[in-house]
Symmetry: D2
Subunit: 246 residues, 4 copies
């Protein structure tokens, strides 16, 4: 089961749509970050939030050092995220902080920086049905999930999705209008684990859906798992037997 | 940390060397399975054993159904393992039982059946130093481990190791005599997770070494994690909208 | 471009439906193998055929030794394929012969033996539209192909498809009725390269379609590429410096 | 066999060591780029060069558009490479230009940008023997190569090498002093294929060695292969049946 005492999660949200757009405000009156904070707290995590318009976007060195897993939602203001903060986040990921990138976060600076590709895709806003099929049922991110989950209405994202081949392809989406999409993909970068998860357009109540929250909660647990020692980089000594030979 | 209450482990051992060979008996007087049972119990698992010469090799339907993770050590008597039992084990793996294959188990019927390759390799018995380097430090199988572990004397296994590309390459071995080896590799087969781990020649006290036991214990935890629902296979119904259309 | 002088292809076909079923006979009067032989010959390959009811299923040692890439189509008579021939084919694949498995061949003995899994899936015969989307556009198997190919009517195959994680996921299918499927997947087993390609139900003229033939032709080229030396397996000598030390 | 008429290769070299350091000048009097140009030309490629101190580092838009595969060697002046040129190269890779990064190029801006990680590693200059073992003998990059190649003296690079899991792990190095290294790794980024290849310290005549040149030549061929169509990104139309429904 998902949930793990002591895991510290920070939900980062751009938090613009919810203040500027009545349709979005109606769905997420306190912001997407609050919906996620509330939903993930029920799995036993210690969840805080941070938003774009806070000083340092709410992502101070202290806050990041105190975060096991960072969740990222952004859309219209990717360019306003400061490059120095993006680099700070990248460094923390390489040191072992987990990162879960949601929906339109595919185009965020931090995701593109960690992937090395354009992260471009096809999209369409047409209230289409989405089915997310599990293609790797042995993966802990789909623990407790059925074979597929269905979202009555979502934005379409379609292939080709310009990302590196994932370590694990966990979910593939089907859309009514004729597209497929790699919707749940994992990566390892340095000591850090990354999960990209597609659903969550701001005009739909996707982040209140139980299976959606469960997948994110499972991903938090997976990304926060203990790992190996931090490697040493740089000039290295040889075996003593070799030293002796010279 | 490794260890998880309630996880049921069965250690299967061929158990011939320890009875036939004085040198091996001196190292593992009660058998390799007992050394592993004792070592893994200290991580909090419920550990049982099974051996080749028991009825059904100790792997009855009931025993397998009651096993979360099966550990396999075999060497000189691979051919004596009954094909029907091998198929039974394979089916349980596909249904979700974890499988950890150790050392010379690379040539076991069950491992070859799950890999689809010859699983051949190079080898040499020359008391060589082995260093197992962590190449994926974010993986939970190396949780709590240093950058490498060193075994003063082991049998050499060398590339090419004729296995499918692993899902994750976790450890690579260096040997004194000039070879390298993919020593810790993971696979998913059906609902089941598989870990092959190289060390453990019968004439060395490898399975008493703390880091070796820790890796196996971590692998047990990883292989026993909760997963997604069992998929449905066979004739399937379409979406209702499609049915209506026809 | 596809096609390569001197590459020898053998198309193996069960060749039962085309003789027993009027609907299939109407589509493939000379058998699926003849349609493929003809189609692939136009890409410049030297193409022969073999069928189930020939002695040794047409797959003698000489024939296999003279084959660079074997193509496999079977459906209702998988169980009639002799285990000894299956093992012979597996050994040739491990030695470097390419293998392309088509459509219902997912359940053939040879494919299951090389995968180590059940290779089960969902299916439905409902004349559904299929779209095969390219998800790895850099792969030579989709050279010269557009972003997706559309088949007006095909049998549906749906996830979960119980196969190992592929080396490369090249194509993902969308079906009208709500399913997705990993339709073009590559594997390496020993020295041999394997490509599974989904389309080709016996009641549709799929194997006369240009993009379908092009994908198969590209896969032949890919599977026939020159490779590294055959590895040596068994007892191995150490570096001289180590020998000297002892 | 390696070599392919019409493939255009550009070898980019920092070209500082060879002018500033007598020891390096003695090994590569005309620069590493000239050694590679000469060596690769013998495989039938059309090979040009470019160096750091040329205008735009020799990598104008025209030059890159006329390059199928770019080879990169840099070391002490990574920081002098202009960010705008790095971005230009990245964009060409995503559009399909192949990229082969050699030795100390692991720390180049372009490689780090495409990987998303630190690309850090261990190193040691101690004239150590290196053995590069083939771990994926079916890969075209090792076509015509023996099981391993041995370099009498090279700089050591050791794990952990902080890179993403490669698409294919082709070669693993063994070093006298006790380390291993993933020495030949492939990636796909956008439409482009990338190969990182470890050997080539500036004080050793590594790039005159036949097997080393053959691997690079094979990688050029592999990276220049034809691929699928350029995907369309952006707002996308649905199937007509869906349009009709709305």
């Amino acid at each position: 089961m998902s949930g793990s005492a002591g895991v510290k999660v920070t939900v980062w949200n751009e938090y613009r749509h919810e203040r500027n757009d009545e349709q979005v405000k109606a769905v997420y009156p306190e912001g997407i970050h609050e919906a996620l904070r509330s939903g993930l707290s029920s799995f036993g995590y210690e969840v805080g939030t941070a938003t774009l318009d806070e000083p340092e976007h709410g992502l101070t060195v202290e806050k990041l050092n105190d975060t096991d897993v960072l969740i990222w939602w952004g859309h219209q203001a990717h360019d306003e995220v400061d490059d120095a903060i993006v680099q700070r986040v990248q460094e923390r990921v390489l040191q072992g902080m987990g990162l879960i990138v949601l929906h339109s976060g595919h185009y965020s600076k931090i995701y593109k920086k960690l992937m090395g590709t354009s992260c471009a895709l096809k999209w369409r806003e047409a209230d289409e049905k989405e089915r997310l099929w599990v293609v790797k049922p042995s993966h802990p991110i789909v623990a407790g999930l059925p074979e597929y989950i269905e979202l009555e209405e979502e934005e379409m994202y379609g292939e080709h999705f310009d990302i590196p081949d994932p370590d694990d392809l966990v979910l593939v989406s089907w859309f009514e209008g004729g597209e497929v999409f790699r919707s749940g993909v994992t990566y390892s970068r340095g000591q850090g684990k990354i999960f990209y998860f597609r659903p969550g357009h701001e005009t739909y109540p996707t982040y209140y859906r139980e299976p959606v929250l469960r997948i994110i909660a499972n991903a938090v647990k997976w990304a926060a798992e203990e790992r190996g020692a931090s490697p040493y980089y740089g000039n290295a000594k040889p075996l003593e037997t070799i030293v002796a030979k010279k």
